[in-house]
Symmetry: C2
Subunit: 292 residues, 2 copies
């Protein structure tokens, strides 16, 4: 069994990005610039954005953090998006989600210039991904593809089961895994309404669990030799931990791991890859790799 | 076994559209207006566009046909698209594909205002469909959903196998069938690289065959009681036919039909629904149903 080390892989990729940025800058090119907009003081969002800023430093990017109180109006936030769209120095930017309830997240996402949409949430990027055109691919599915690639896991012609059909993970993951230039696999998407989940999973060479139910995937659902990617990160109360909770994946790791050819742990698997993929998208934005 | 009659269903829907258009017009509203751009003299395209114009008449729409010789430049065609985007009387329009080789189809598709993109090919519509937002859904997948709905075929929680992963049929079909508000099914997408195709199909309650290989789906691949939707329309040489060919589906109809609870014939199944769905999209365009 090979443990897929997302933390180490992310560190390697960030070092690769930094080396490329230094080459670009040494050749007289522009240092990529990521801006992040943070509304309010949600604890999780604060942590994510801080880690994104730190990752920018590790990659040699310029970063800007724009903060607003959660009393900001939708119109004011849309105006901020407009300014970032027009700011020629900003190559890509994100608006950290979730937003306060009085602001339409979808409206904000659609206001972002798709050429700077390094989160890959704009419908144009989602649509281009679906039909196989160059685009920003959102962080979690892109990170999983990268892990599979870097661990030399064959996907072409394999049977892949995606558990979950969220817009952020399940659906794009399925779309990528089925496409010839990405996974080229036979893909089944299972969800809350699916029957015979155990049989579906048992037939899979690769299982990508993104269902948000702690330890949902148990040993009796996994074929020996399967590859298991765990996207779950549910906070489970745990009095023995300093923060009072532990992160729990969708996989019963203790009993499943020994069956697998490869498995990602939680934490330390898919999680560390996501911010790293945002960095890859920002590098692509700086290089105008997908759009002029 | 129930034969799914696409021709009759399409006629019913067109009558419904016409009734609604007359209500709209009687109430002082605007008659929906579809424009079609046809480049060159490809026989298939001529037929499609003629049938689209006839369907507009049947639905009480206004239609405009804009013809160009295949010597038109890309810039000239893009200029035509721009004019149609700006023409307030045109609610929706299509550029009939394929286009001559010197013109980028993707560039033309992306030049169309997504709010008038009644073919549903623009990345914004593709992306919005993928994440479950209101949008124009392309004709073939939309037509199949409509057939399933009008024949009261339960899809929620069912196992659906989609054969083929084209941008026009397989991929959007899979995306729709998996979404809660459309098919809500467990969806597997199979393609040229898939193994165990027979087993995958045998497990399916619903098979949507869009692989473009005549009579590919044989009786040994179909579970008794399954629903079979045949999207294939390959021209097979046939000296006994006036045109020298017959249309052949992806399903070995003669041997599969008796096994099925429902099956679409070729021709007369999915085919007649596609133009009809373009009409539904045009009606939605006229009513500004998805976009202002």
């Amino acid at each position: 069994m090979t443990l897929i080390d997302g933390k180490a892989t992310a560190a390697t990729i960030k070092a690769e990005i930094k080396a490329e940025v230094e080459r670009i800058v040494a050749a007289g090119g522009k240092r990529p610039h990521l801006a992040a907009v943070l509304v309010g003081h949600d604890g999780g969002s604060e942590t994510y954005v801080r880690n994104k800023v730190l990752a920018c430093e590790a990659c040699g990017f310029r970063s800007s953090l724009i903060r607003y109180e959660d009393t900001i109006t939708e119109a004011e936030l849309l105006d901020c998006v407009k300014q970032l769209n027009e700011d020629a120095d900003v190559d890509g930017f994100i608006v950290q989600l979730p937003l306060p309830k009085h602001i339409s997240e979808q409206k904000v996402i659609e206001a972002i210039d798709y050429r700077k949409d390094v989160d890959g949430f704009h419908p144009i990027n989602v649509g281009r991904m679906a039909i196989g055109l160059p685009c920003y691919i959102s962080a979690t599915p892109k990170g999983i593809l990268e892990l599979l690639r870097r661990y030399d896991i064959e996907t072409s012609g394999k049977k892949c089961v995606v558990l979950g059909r969220s817009n952020i993970v399940g659906k794009p993951m399925a779309q990528l895994m089925m496409q010839k230039q990405y996974g080229d696999a036979t893909v089944t998407v299972c969800h809350s309404r699916s029957r015979n989940l155990r049989e579906e999973c048992l037939a899979a060479d690769i299982i990508i669990a993104a269902i948000g139910r702690p330890e949902f995937l148990t040993a009796d659902m996994v074929k020996p030799g399967a590859v298991v990617i765990d996207v779950g990160t549910t906070r489970v109360p745990d009095a023995t931990r300093p923060k009072g909770f532990r992160l729990c994946g969708d996989v019963d790791f203790a009993n499943v791991a020994s069956l697998c050819s490869h498995i990602t742990p939680v934490p330390g698997g898919v999680g560390p890859m996501t911010i790293c993929m945002l960095m890859l998208n920002t590098l692509a934005a700086g290089k105008r790799e997908y759009y002029q």
